[in-house]
């Protein structure tokens, strides 16, 4: 429904505003009719960097090093997506086997650390203590106090992922991994052996994390229904339809499982996806062109990938996937909070894949540079970042300087879905004109399930302190409440 038609139906507008949006990031508005039905939820993303402009005129070689600095949580994703585009610019379609495996290993390490951070450091307090539990205690420090074993395992899984990155890129964050058509340095025997020491533990802890999430998700019907939507899913899959993070064809399946596209060459992404701008957010709204603006929004990320793939190539994660799929009886699991469970299945897949790659003799190879081909003027790199399908698109001029850059980051693809989940949760929990503290907490949990990143990184990291206003159609404030830093809840309107 368009905004104009909402206004004409005399909707009320509720503004959910993080008082400390000074942390830069956003607020939520709800449009609500006279029966208190929520028609629209807006998650405003308020950060703007201007990357598309200032990358212009820079040499293409610099790009992977700039773009990783868009995001310190998943820098490797941007580094690799840009590197894949740069490979095309220098006429390389196939990396050497060792370079390909090093990039895959790097990406598994990154996905592991990012997923572990999100679950253990950020979301586990909600899930272990309850959505409405004591605010002072509901953070990673509280988890360390009450569940030290879980917290320390989480810290160590993240650490291991970071160590994999450091071994390949030289440091944990914003390292130097790729060169056009290859990799910067080989993995030494000592580095490989050091990583082998803890991998068995990491696999075991990852299994525990999957089991914990399965238990949390299935033990409570509220978790199953929470912000649940029926949407298409987009992800890369390998040529056999298996889960694939680094390189593959795009698969989009409708909510009922019917294929929209499969093994789609992502270099044609502009035919598949278009974006809409809305005046109230710096984050655009992508949609599937063939379905149109209204119906074409979709979800990406762990939930999309685990649902979309036909199988996972590592045995423990595959068995976990089958248990996950049995929840839907073969159909897609659309539960929004099942993102967490799917995320941990991927951590397990990363751990198994890292072990497999470390035992592969080719990982120690030193042939890192593919022969450069004829230079091309355009490169499009796509990977499955931790948060979902990530598109990087660059055009260069005759001197090899960037002329044009377009990025569709993973969180952007989930933009409409996050708004819809907030709307669903608001509908489910709002009571009359009163905005309850429970609603505020629950809105945060719905957004956090998607693990939003980049411009909304503070949302993901922070427990948003919130101020909510219920404004009547005449603009008068009907009700306003504030959640305080000490966990207090005040009516201020």
């Amino acid at each position: 429904m368009s905004e104009a038609s909402l206004e004409s139906k005399k909707m009320r507008r509720i503004a959910v505003d993080p008082v400390s949006r000074v942390e830069g990031h956003g607020k939520i508005t709800l449009l609500m009719d006279e029966e208190n039905h929520i028609h629209e939820a807006r998650l405003h993303i308020v950060e703007f960097r201007g990357f598309e402009k200032f990358i212009q005129g820079r040499p293409y070689r610099e790009v992977p090093y700039f773009v990783q600095r868009l995001c310190g949580i998943c820098p490797v994703s941007h580094h690799l997506a840009a590197a894949k585009a740069v490979d095309q610019l220098v006429g390389v379609d196939d990396l050497t086997p060792t370079s390909l495996k090093l990039r895959q290993l790097l990406h598994f390490g990154q996905t592991m650390q990012s997923h572990a951070l999100h679950f253990f450091h950020l979301s586990s307090p909600d899930l272990l203590f309850g959505f409405g539990s004591d605010m002072k205690h509901r953070n990673i420090v509280g988890v360390i106090e009450d569940y030290p074993e879980i917290a320390i395992q989480g810290v160590k899984i993240r650490k291991y992922g970071q160590q994999v990155i450091a071994a390949i890129a030289g440091k944990r964050i914003h390292g130097a991994a790729t060169v056009p058509g290859g990799m910067n340095k080989p993995l030494t025997i000592n580095e490989r052996d050091a990583l082998l020491v803890d991998i068995a533990d990491v696999i075991r802890w990852s299994q525990d994390a999957v089991a914990l999430n399965e238990t949390i998700h299935c033990s409570d019907q509220e978790h199953r229904d929470f912000g649940t939507l029926r949407t298409p899913f987009m992800s890369l899959v390998d040529p056999s339809g298996n889960l694939e993070m680094y390189h593959g064809g795009l698969r989009v399946r409708m909510a009922d499982g019917a294929a929209l596209v499969d093994q789609f060459d992502y270099r044609g992404y502009t035919e598949l996806v278009r974006e809409e701008i809305r005046p109230w957010s710096y984050m655009k709204f992508p949609y599937l062109q063939s379905l149109g603006k209204e119906q074409g929004w979709y979800r990406v990320g762990p939930l999309a990938r685990v649902n979309n793939c036909d199988a996972i190539t590592t045995p423990l994660a595959e068995s976990a996937r089958q248990r996950f799929k049995s929840l839907g009886g073969g159909a897609f699991v659309q539960d929004t909070l099942a993102y967490h469970w799917a995320r941990m299945i991927e951590v397990l897949h990363c751990a198994e894949s890292i072990e497999r790659l470390l035992h592969d003799p080719e990982i120690l190879g030193t042939d890192l540079q593919a022969p450069l081909g004829e230079k091309r003027s355009e490169g499009i790199g796509v990977i499955e970042a931790p948060r979902g399908t990530l598109f990087h698109h660059y055009k260069i001029d005759e001197d090899g300087l960037i002329e044009k850059a377009n990025l569709i980051v993973s969180t952007t693809s989930n933009n409409q879905a996050m708004n819809e989940s907030v709307r669903t949760v608001a509908n489910q929990y709002i009571e009359g004109n009163e905005v309850t503290e429970g609603l505020l907490n629950h809105l945060e949990v719905a957004v956090r399930a998607y693990d939003p990143c980049l411009s909304c990184a503070t949302h993901a990291l922070g427990k948003m302190p919130l101020e909510v206003e219920l404004v009547g159609i005449d603009g008068q404030v009907i009700d306003a409440v504030r959640k305080g830093s000490d966990g207090s809840f005040d009516r201020i309107g």
Partner: protein, 180 residues
């Protein structure tokens, strides 16, 4: 009586969160740190405004008015303010937009972009006013210490905090001081 814990606040302004991630790269050492330190306002807690704090760690530069507002709150409440990382110290990658007008950056992202249906520059009042240029912290408030790096390594965080907790003037040895 036991001394109360040292109170630390952290925030990310126009940064990428990499400095916060690097802080967490102290890994299990965080457990020992928590015996001496409590987090106040931080992306890791629910606390929305600084109480009086001993140490404030600020990542990122200033790109909009909200960033300036938070920085002032930190300066007001923190006895010791530390500018963390390249962006806080000199603007970093976000400050690369300073070579262009803000208008041209917005136009590139929203009017000239590939695959966009309805070119327009978002202008809702919900969006905080962008600054014309991106600024480092010391142009707006007094900064007590600078921790360089993109990001500073975890060891550097541990060292500066340990020095301050033990009442020493911080000194970061060259081998853990990185500028990349």
């Amino acid at each position: 009586m036991r001394n109360p814990k040292v109170r630390v606040a952290t925030t990310s302004l126009a940064g990428c969160f990499g400095c916060h991630m690097s802080f967490l790269d102290m890994d299990e050492r965080i457990v020992a740190l928590l015996e001496q330190v409590e987090f106040n306002r931080s992306p890791l807690t629910d606390i929305k405004h600084c109480d009086p704090c001993d140490i404030g760690l600020v990542e990122g530069g200033l790109c909009n008015v909200d960033n300036v507002h938070v920085l002032r709150e930190f300066r007001q409440n923190c006895k010791i303010l530390i500018a963390v990382g390249a962006c806080a110290i000199n603007g970093g990658v976000p400050a690369m937009r300073n070579h262009y007008s803000l208008q041209s950056c917005l136009e590139e992202a929203f009017l000239n972009e590939i695959g966009v249906d309805n070119p327009m520059i978002p202008n809702d009042e919900a969006l905080p006013l962008l600054l014309d240029k991106v600024h480092p912290l010391h142009e707006v408030v007094h900064v007590d210490y600078y921790l360089p790096g993109c990001p500073p390594p975890a060891d550097a965080f541990v060292k500066i905090l340990t020095d301050l907790l033990e009442g020493r003037e911080p000194s970061i040895p060259a081998e853990i001081l990185h500028y990349d």
